[in-house]
């Protein structure tokens, strides 16, 4: 009874900062909206921290974020009734958050042109008509810091857990991974290992794991050659700017985010994403890390079967009882473990951090999705 009371108090303590942030962040220019967002995000944080199976709430949240993202794009394209209007609109609002027709004080959302001044690719622009090059840097130190700091902080704080909780694209493959029965084996992409009790475990071949790094390297090199910011590869404005690009992206999404996740129950989109590769490279310095308790783990391999990123392998468990750099901190292994051996910790310590992680993630989601939420509010509100 006392422990339940204590856990509720702890959940409340972790909820208050989330609700407070939502109130401060969303109350300008509509105070009632700040109150509403504080209530929604606060209640949800309290519920998810208290939930026995956090996945049951995390999954709808994650899929819902994809819904917000998709709804935003479709609303702008279809309400304005053409893609050119969307591109015009996007280029007009590259600096700041869009708040019902006005730009406001917070410059946080990374839009294409602002980003291009920071990231590799538009350091120099070639003008074929005059045959000249214009070297451009961030328009001001202020703009540079306002874009770079949130990016860096989010990446360092969350690492690849962005792919498991915050990424707007991740919700689509997550939604497609329904049921437990895998219909396609895709053996040519897998390596199999047999563990103690003759159980056969499937992992990904090394080259498949490296595809995302190859795509990242190619993106960076092409960014230099085509004078194009690599990060724009993941931007809907870029997708809609050209018909061939649009169909290539749609094709990739259909195969890697719809068909393969549905047929195999794994997240294949994240295996080719260059941004995911970048996040994976920060794994060694990430604050929140999953690992297993050596005394409790009985090598049942339930976590390995459950992992949708192929981040857990028998070899990895034998070596250091933790997943590889592809771990997205979704918490599936934590909830499936019958011995309660897996958990999320601060660095490599034994201090459990899952509730604090969820609370911080909610703050990050509230901050990063402002752009989408206010566009939707502007279109339908």
């Amino acid at each position: 009874m006392l422990s339940r009371f204590r856990s509720k108090i702890l959940a409340l303590l972790l909820t208050l900062p989330v609700a407070g942030f939502a109130l401060w962040w969303y109350s300008h220019p509509l105070p009632w909206f700040g109150v509403l967002m504080a209530f929604i995000s606060g209640s949800f944080t309290f519920l998810i921290i208290n939930a026995k199976r956090k996945m049951s709430l995390q999954r709808p949240l994650f899929i819902g974020l994809f819904g917000v993202f998709l709804g935003t794009i479709l609303s702008v394209v279809y309400i304005d009734n053409n893609t050119a209007a969307f591109l015009d609109w996007a280029h007009r609002h590259t600096i700041a958050y869009y708040r019902i027709g006005e730009t406001v004080r917070s410059t946080v959302f990374p839009c294409t042109l602002t980003l291009s001044q920071v990231f590799l690719g538009r350091a120099a622009n070639y003008f074929p008509s005059t045959g000249s090059w214009l070297v451009s840097f961030p328009s001001s130190l202020h703009a540079f810091l306002l874009i770079l700091i949130p990016f860096t902080v989010t990446t360092l704080l969350f690492g690849r857990s962005i792919c498991g909780w915050i990424c707007p694209f991740g919700g689509l493959p997550e939604a497609m991974v329904t049921g437990n029965k895998s219909r396609w084996s895709l053996n040519f992409l897998k390596k199999k290992s047999v563990v103690e009790d003759k159980k056969e475990i499937e992992g990904l071949q090394d080259w498949v794991k490296d595809v995302k790094y190859g795509v990242l390297l190619a993106s960076l090199l092409l960014a230099v050659s085509l004078a194009f910011p690599a990060v724009c590869l993941l931007c809907p404005v870029f997708w809609l700017s050209s018909l061939p690009v649009f169909w290539v992206i749609i094709g990739l999404m259909v195969v890697f985010a719809l068909i393969l996740p549905f047929m195999t129950k794994k997240r294949w989109w994240c295996q080719i994403c260059p941004l995911g590769a970048l996040f994976a490279m920060t794994d060694k310095i990430s604050i929140f890390r999953v690992h297993m308790d050596k005394k409790k783990c009985d090598r049942c391999m339930d976590c390995v079967y459950e992992c949708r990123m192929y981040a857990l392998t028998p070899e990895g468990l034998d070596k250091d009882l933790k997943p590889d750099e592809d771990c997205i901190r979704c918490g599936r292994c934590i909830e499936v473990c019958p011995e309660k051996a897996a958990d999320l910790y601060f660095f490599n310590t034994s201090v459990k951090a899952r509730n604090i992680f969820i609370s911080l993630t909610m703050v990050a989601i509230l901050a990063w999705y402002t752009w989408f939420i206010f566009i939707l509010l502007g279109k339908f509100g």
Binding site: A124, Y126, P128, G131, W133, D206, W207, D210, V211, Y213, G214, V215, L217, A218, S219, L221, L222, V224, S225, A227, S242, L243, P244, V245, V248
Partner: protein
């Protein structure tokens, strides 16, 4: 003659931002796929690529000299060059990745065709006939020259200046790959570089097929 050499060198250096930016990404991953990556092995694909470009430049120059007319490269030629470059890069990346091991006949055939620095050489040949603003400027300049010797001198100086950066960056790629291979393993560096080559090949292919809308 000095003015011709200086003009050629200046025009060649001028390609560093545009042409070299297009060529370096194509060569850099090859620098990382050597058996023992390092400064010299990194320079090899850069040199092979540049040699390919030189051959193309010489062909273009001779054509100009003998035909005495401006070479017009139409849209279809550019598209074909891009599609071919894309296919060469994709096949080359797949070969390094070991995708053809299951098909010994094809593997052997491909090995004879594009092994070692042959792929960068072919890509260099194709890149040499891909039009870019500095190349057109150089071709326009040699149209004003009468002697084949002066024209050749101009083209060689132009090529030398434009090649320096490619070879330097390619060597740097080799050194970088060597450093990385100590940390993550040579096999992995080769694998990642070959996947990058395939992706770049795919982009070239799509660019060619889509009529440069990408």
């Amino acid at each position: 003659m000095l003015s011709v050499i200086l003009a050629a060198l200046a025009m060649g250096v001028g390609t560093i931002l545009s042409c070299a930016a297009l060529c370096v990404p194509l060569v850099m991953p090859y620098a990382a796929t050597a058996d023992r990556p390092g400064f010299l092995s990194g320079a090899a694909p850069g040199l092979a690529f540049s040699t390919g470009r030189l051959v193309s430049y010489v062909v273009l120059m001779l054509a100009l000299f003998f035909l005495k007319s401006t070479i017009r490269e139409n849209f279809l030629t550019i598209a074909i060059v891009n599609v071919t470059s894309g296919l060469v890069a994709i096949l080359s990346g797949l070969f390094i990745l070991g995708a053809f091991k299951r098909f010994p006949a094809f593997n052997k055939h491909y090995c004879l065709m594009f092994n070692g620095t042959r792929s960068p050489l072919v890509l260099g040949l194709l890149a040499g006939i891909t039009p870019c603003a500095p190349l057109f400027a150089a071709l326009a300049f040699i149209m004003t020259l009468d002697s084949l010797f002066i024209m050749s001198l101009f083209m060689i100086c132009f090529w030398l200046a434009s090649t320096l950066l490619i070879i330097a960056l390619s060597s740097m790629g080799g050194v970088l790959a060597s450093l990385l291979s100590r940390r993550v393993g040579l096999e992995r560096v080769r694998r990642i570089a070959s996947i990058a080559i395939i992706v770049i090949g795919l982009v070239l292919l799509i660019r060619g097929l889509s009529g440069f809308q990408v």
